[in-house]
């Protein structure tokens, strides 16, 4: 696994500060000495590529969002990099800046479904930039804005110096994605967030696309739970309910070691073996989703193990 090309996906709504953030992070070398940047723009006339320079070069994919219409171009670009890499010329890390209209979950899905990329690319982290000034309005009205938040491994609040009410926004983000840590940046520079005070999340009205709010549920796996039984249950659950189960995350103890389990909708990342530690959070799985009664998850699992 060590020599896979590491891919970081940087998503976020239109104008959320993705390029600004990437520009500064590349300037300070946060992605290593040979990072290659892929910039995707939904519009035909690109702007962002002019702003970015990277040690490993910049690829521009314009005229099609890479989670849908431009997906073939993205796959081709990544395959090209993998090709170069297998000849010893490619980068070890890639930063993909998506268009503001992209659903990062769909991109992860496309990469995992590609027979070449699955062997060569590891999705390191899905970062989503959140515009602290405008996110509140986007989240109450835009299904896409919510999907982006839900798919994130880490949320980056941008423009925090100009934002009036961070506490409510942070509470709202936690409702949508309880597991992703929230960091903050101003013009790309990381800044510390003030301590969070308790605030009510913004009301998230049901949008035409989605009928119920997304809720997190924690399941404690029974002692001695067998990995093969648990994954059989989970694979059936994801097949039947994958569109409702936005995210499943947790660490499971198995004979092979501590396995980090992560899914985005129907896509499961290849489980990663974590180093041993006496961590108390093992065998607790977080389910984030909608459209089911949370109490039924442990009941159904018990039926499968019984």
């Amino acid at each position: 696994m060590a020599d896979l090309m590491r891919l970081t996906i940087l998503g976020g709504y239109l104008g959320s500060g993705k390029t600004t953030w990437a520009r500064h992070q590349l300037y300070v070398g946060a992605f290593g000495p040979d990072v290659h940047v892929i910039v995707n723009e939904a519009a035909e006339v690109p702007v962002d590529d002019a702003l970015l320079t990277a040690p490993g070069g910049v690829t521009l994919l314009a005229g099609g969002c890479c989670c849908c219409t431009g997906q073939a171009a993205l796959i081709a670009a990544l395959r090209g990099l993998c090709d170069a890499r297998s000849q010893g010329k490619g980068p070890s890390r890639v930063l993909l800046e998506t268009s503001g209209l992209a659903d990062p979950g769909a991109i992860v899905r496309a990469i995992q479904a590609d027979p070449v990329l699955i062997h060569h690319v590891r999705v390191d982290e899905v970062l989503v930039a959140v515009d602290a000034l405008h996110a509140a309005a986007q989240l109450t009205a835009e299904p896409l804005g919510r999907r982006q938040i839900e798919a994130a491994d880490r949320l980056i609040l941008t423009k925090v110096d100009a934002a009036p009410d961070l506490d409510r926004l942070r509470a709202t983000l936690r409702v949508l994605n309880p597991t992703a840590p929230i960091t903050a940046a101003v013009r790309g520079e990381d800044v510390a967030l003030p301590p969070e005070t308790k605030a009510d999340p913004l009301p998230l009205p049901a949008l035409p696309e989605e009928t119920a709010p997304i809720r997190p549920t924690q399941i404690h796996l029974p002692k001695g739970m067998d990995w093969s039984v648990f994954t059989l249950w989970l694979s059936a659950l994801l097949h039947a309910r994958g569109n409702d189960l936005v995210r499943v995350k947790g660490v499971v103890r198995t004979p092979a070691g501590r396995l980090l389990l992560q899914t985005v909708r129907k896509v499961v990342q290849a489980p990663e073996i974590l180093p041993e530690s006496a961590h108390a959070e093992d065998d607790v799985i977080v389910f984030i989703g909608r459209g089911y009664d949370p109490a039924n998850l442990p009941r159904s699992l018990a039926h499968f193990t019984g």
Partner: protein
Amino acid sequence: MCNACGNPAVPGHWTEAGAASPGDRLRARYQRTALLNRLLRPYGLSVADGGAVPGYQLSTLSGAVTLVNDLGALWEEAERLIGRPVDPLDARYLNG
């Protein structure tokens, strides 16, 4: 990858990650097959993991057999045969 059938197209299905030794792997295969048969029998389906053939063999009562590569493909094929997905949150799976 096998030149004749193209299997496996991807390195190991995620459900197979938890086994450390060949013994664990074999045990897990038996366990999965037994559980799958218990779950799918009410639908008139049975599952065999022949060992020589990769993946699972999913059979109907009339004897039609489909080879599927992994559990993900198995649930898809089961949905096609049954007409709806096997949903663990269905009422039939919620009682003890």
